[in-house]
Symmetry: C2
Subunit: 234 residues, 2 copies
């Protein structure tokens, strides 16, 4: 009998009454049981398949083939396909936020902190392309409890970025819409999975610098904008 969770299915939020008590959280004690290590590998394989074929397009049979495990065997590690997607997204999101917060301790300068945000994102993004594509491409796939838990983490990440930008705005006395700036920035850095080719494009560090320059110049410079496109016509 697998997954001796008592009532995780009913609680609506607690998707964590999982097996050998660690559940991949990279937290507290480095227990990392046999179960956890195997699960981590399965998540990795699954992310690759979801990345290739999309969540709906990938079958559990595809996953079992990629993982070298029988179809039934997979269900020892997660309770459903949806749960699998949830675990991938949660682990990916938590890791990128964790690393970011570590790196943000390095600087108090507002502009540099924004650069750190961008560099952290791109570095993790390009080093974990598959999982990050699954995170961004399938962000409306999860429903109900699992979906709202992931959406909460996403808002947390959004908020961190927004705070960094508003700190910058305050410090430099600028004027711009925080929401628009954050979402413009997210667009630039999340869109990368659709085109980045390691044989043609810069590596993560260089790309982060270029994108930071492009974005920060746009945000930092005064609004000497050519006003409105004239509706002139013959």
């Amino acid at each position: 009998m697998a997954l001796q969770n008592t009532e995780t299915r009913l609680s609506g939020y607690a998707f964590d009454g999982r097996k050998g008590r660690t559940a991949l959280s990279s937290g507290e004690e480095g227990v990392d049981s046999r179960f956890d290590r195997r699960l981590a590998k399965l998540l990795h394989h699954a992310a690759q398949i979801f990345c290739e074929k999309g969540y709906e397009g990938a079958s559990m049979r595809d996953l079992s083939r990629a993982a070298g495990m029988s179809l039934a065997g997979l269900y020892h590690y997660f309770e459903s396909k949806e749960d699998l997607l949830y675990l991938i997204q949660k682990h990916t999101f938590r890791t990128i936020i964790e690393r970011l917060q570590e790196r943000l301790k390095e600087s108090k300068d507002a502009e540099e902190r924004v650069r750190i945000f961008i560099e952290n994102h791109l570095e993790y993004f390009l080093a974990n392309k598959e999982a990050m594509k699954v995170l961004t491409h399938e962000d409306e796939t999860l429903k109900n409890g699992r979906g709202s838990e992931i959406r909460a983490i996403k808002r947390e990440y959004y908020k961190i970025c927004l705070d960094l930008l508003e700190e910058l705005r305050r410090e430099k006395g600028l004027q711009f819409s925080g929401r628009l700036a954050v979402l413009g920035l997210f667009g630039m850095i999340n869109w990368i999975y659709t085109w980045h080719n390691p044989r043609v494009d810069l590596d993560a560090g260089a790309m982060a610098e270029e994108m930071s320059n492009l974005f920060l110049r746009g945000v930092l410079n005064p609004g000497k904008t050519k006003r409105k496109i004239a509706k002139t016509n013959a």
Copy 2:
């Protein structure tokens, strides 16, 4: 017997030996047969469902329900689910490019032409959210002939934008990577479908101006960038 195409299936590229000879192309004569008008409505309904559930997640039965037509009846208008996606993407892409080229005739000024590009994209994007989401979200879904035809149109659109930016760069004597600028810009304006809320956010025109300012200031201003994040640490 439906779709009296002779050998469209074999030719690999010519997906256009379609029924009553017009095939939605909005071209030459405004024939717009009964067939074409019904097909256009079906594409619209289908785009809504694909937008909601994704291409793989949407079933032909979902589509038949949304269109108020029997499952079998749908196949009178297209030959497969994949063909349906292809028709949606082609029609959407062709329309946005067509409108863009019309609008670009309005100005010879390099900067303003970039603004026109952005405004055209956002205006069409927000007025046809569903179809545009299907275009951007499912851009790797189509395979083989249909896929490479859509990818060719996409390259055409990319090229138009690249040319506009390089014209701007030449005129103002600037220095930046065209590829990175185009893809950064595409990121900003394509990402919108993931967050835009008409009750909270600006309308297309105002959004286009804000995004244009953000992007153009980033591109136009000199590289007075704070160099590299120091690897300093305790």
